[in-house]
């Protein structure tokens, strides 16, 4: 938009003692007693009076009502499934059919009455369609992730919103590979998946979403999700807990009125130097939700071999073999990034 600064001006501004540079800078610091109002310099008082006259100043009652309206729960016609005494919930398969098979076995062994998937069936791993029969056999109740929304909607990218060119490069490879490997029928299956579900575990009503209750591609990371924010989400969604995925990192925070659980993903390790992936097992104990975030072992060597056969990037294979993410790291908040290898 802005044209590059005139080269001569630029050069002259570089000179500390040049008169032109001094005068230019003097103009930039000519604010004594004045305020910038758009492109004008006006007396400070004029600016402050205009600002003070602008906007609302509600009474205490107005403000209390505005706050109440803001936090009011939104009506949600999503039917409540259950009640269950124990369920398994996982996210982000990323084509990892080895981990999905291991999960179904592990959840059954632990007595889960139902298995829920929070979306992102594809991406990253090999042979996208191979997870479909497993989902059917395991009677997995699934919701859409941003991958399903993009694939079913014919989008050209995964809608992760990366800005780093390197991340975009790998995201594109991953998305195109999955897009080409999914039949029209599989995409239609994805398109008819609901965007959210509600389940009852014991007496606790839980909302299941992919990113957050507000957006399918919102990241809820532990170090970037303040407790008051999560409490507001519970209030606005009228539930006792929210289960989500999308970030790839699992965590749980017990709040006064409920629980927030990011169930993690089973598609790739949690950027912690271990090859295990993670999922959540939930049950009710004495009126509270008991949350276990379980490490899951699977045949990661076989997965790595199949990824190489499919000529997927060696950077992806490295993640599977080492447990450290090599791509798409820009999404991590500082705390989570500091704990990562790359």
């Amino acid at each position: 938009m802005a044209e590059s600064m005139d080269k001569r001006t630029h050069e002259r501004l570089s000179a500390r003692d040049d008169e032109f540079a001094r005068e230019y800078r003097q103009r930039l610091t000519a604010h004594r007693g004045k305020a910038t109002w758009g492109e004008r310099l006006v007396p400070l008082r004029e600016f402050r009076e205009a600002a003070a006259a602008s906007g609302r100043q509600g009474s205490a009652k107005d403000r209390a009502e505005a706050l109440k309206a803001y936090l009011r729960s939104r009506s949600d016609p999503t039917p409540v499934e259950g009640p269950y005494s124990r369920v398994a919930v996982f996210g982000g398969i990323y084509n990892n059919h080895y981990a999905l098979a291991a999960l179904l076995e592990d959840a059954a062994r632990r007595g889960a009455e139902a298995v829920y998937c929070l979306g992102d069936l594809g991406g990253f791993g090999p042979n996208p369609e191979s997870v479909w029969p497993l989902l059917e056999q395991g009677a997995v109740r699934t919701i859409q992730g941003n991958y399903e929304e993009s694939l079913a909607g014919g989008r050209e990218d995964c809608n992760c919103g990366y800005t780093d060119p390197r991340d975009n490069h790998f995201a594109e490879i991953s998305y195109r590979y999955t897009e080409e490997g999914c039949s029209q029928e599989f995409k239609e299956y994805m398109g008819q998946l609901p965007l959210r579900r509600r389940i009852q575990v014991g007496n606790r009503e839980l909302l299941l979403v992919h990113g957050s209750p507000r957006r399918i591609n919102e990241f809820l990371f532990h170090s970037a999700s303040p407790t008051p924010f999560l409490e507001a989400l519970l209030a606005q969604n009228d539930c006792d807990g929210i289960l989500c995925t999308h970030t790839g990192l699992h965590w749980h925070r017990a709040l006064g009125d409920g629980d927030i659980v990011n169930v993690g993903v089973i598609g790739r390790p949690a950027n912690d130097g271990a090859t295990d992936v993670h999922y959540a097992l939930l049950e009710e104990r004495q009126g509270r939700l008991r949350v276990e975030l379980l490490p899951l072992r699977y045949d990661y060597q076989a997965l790595a071999q199949e990824m190489r056969q499919e000529k997927l990037p060696e950077e992806f294979v490295e993640t599977i073999l080492t447990g450290w993410w090599t791509t798409c790291l820009e999404i991590l908040p500082p705390r989570e990034r500091a704990a990562s290898r790359y």
């Binding site: 930039l28 604010h31 170090s223 008051p228 500091a338």
Partner: protein, 295 residues
């Protein structure tokens, strides 16, 4: 006399607040220890359009923000660390949520960096520091940001790296190649050269207001949003659909329009949960360039 009906397609559109996720603080007002030639708020050592915020003012907004479920807090100015209470303000903020500070780095000496690291470690939420630069070297940066500013920003980055804080480098498109893949790569290399092993970068367009209007010219009259420009999916891509800016004298819509008195929306956050009219040319930049000041 008949009054012509305004053409609704020509009226400025309004953007609703979908949720208040990001709360900015104009924590150092418009006071800065630099006077950059592209500063859209014309911050300088003499600009007192907005004054420093006090710890008590910030606490008041933090408490209201917690009730509203705000997700993240950003601090800007002016130069944030000129505010003598800045570290206490950060400590109070990190008790309730993640915080990011936008700074030119001039005041990030080794001792302050040690204290910042201690604040970051003590919180369960992330602390992010964003350092501004406008060139890969002093020759391209200093004419914009002032003599010596390049070297001092690099010192700040080294001081942060020494305490394991990984800063985000913020650059504007004042040099047009900054946003290209090659331009970004050069900044990543600059950071790696300073010992940043996980380089992070934020690129922002320039806004033709404040000092920048003098440098490169103001907006053209057609660079305004009108009702007919409303995208199919509405205005949710604009940061004003999810942010507000607290100052020492009330709450503005966003950090860009802090020098527009009419962009002051109210005294408390709950006064500002309504719609904002996109009647400013800078709104055009946000829409066309998909700008978010968030990291």
């Amino acid at each position: 006399m008949a009054v012509a009906k305004p053409d609704s397609a020509q009226a400025a559109p309004g953007v609703a607040l979908s949720s208040l996720d990001t709360l900015w603080f104009q924590v150092a007002g418009t006071v800065c220890n630099l006077a950059c030639t592209h500063c859209f708020v014309s911050s300088s050592p003499t600009n007192r359009t907005h004054e420093f915020m006090s710890l008590e003012q910030v606490r008041g907004y933090l408490s209201e923000a917690a009730q509203l479920g705000v997700k993240e807090y950003y601090f800007t100015g002016g130069e944030a660390f000129l505010n003598p209470q800045m570290e206490a303000i950060l400590e109070a903020t990190l008790e309730v949520g993640p915080a990011s500070v936008l700074t030119n780095g001039l005041l990030l000496d080794p001792d302050r960096c040690i204290r910042l690291e201690a604040l970051a470690t003590a919180s369960e939420y992330s602390l992010d520091i964003r350092i501004s630069l406008d060139g890969y070297d002093a020759a391209s940066n200093d004419p914009i940001r002032g003599p010596g500013s390049f070297d001092r920003a690099l010192d700040a980055i080294r001081n942060l790296v020494a305490v394991s804080i990984n800063p985000v480098l913020t650059v504007t498109e004042v040099h047009q190649d900054s946003a290209s893949a090659e331009g970004k790569q050069r900044f990543f290399e600059l950071l790696r050269g300073l010992g940043v092993d996980k380089p992070r970068l934020k690129v922002l367009p320039v806004f033709r207001i404040g000092a920048e209007a003098e440098r490169s010219g103001a907006y053209e009259s057609w660079q305004r949003l009108r009702e007919g420009d409303t995208p199919e999916n509405g205005w949710e891509h604009l940061q004003c659909s999810s942010c507000r800016l607290a100052t020492a004298t009330g709450v503005w819509v966003c950090p860009i329009l802090v020098n527009e008195p009419t962009a002051r929306m109210g005294e408390s956050l709950t006064d500002t949960l309504g719609e904002f009219t996109l009647d400013h040319p800078a709104c055009w930049t946000c829409h066309v360039y998909g700008v978010s000041c968030r990291t």
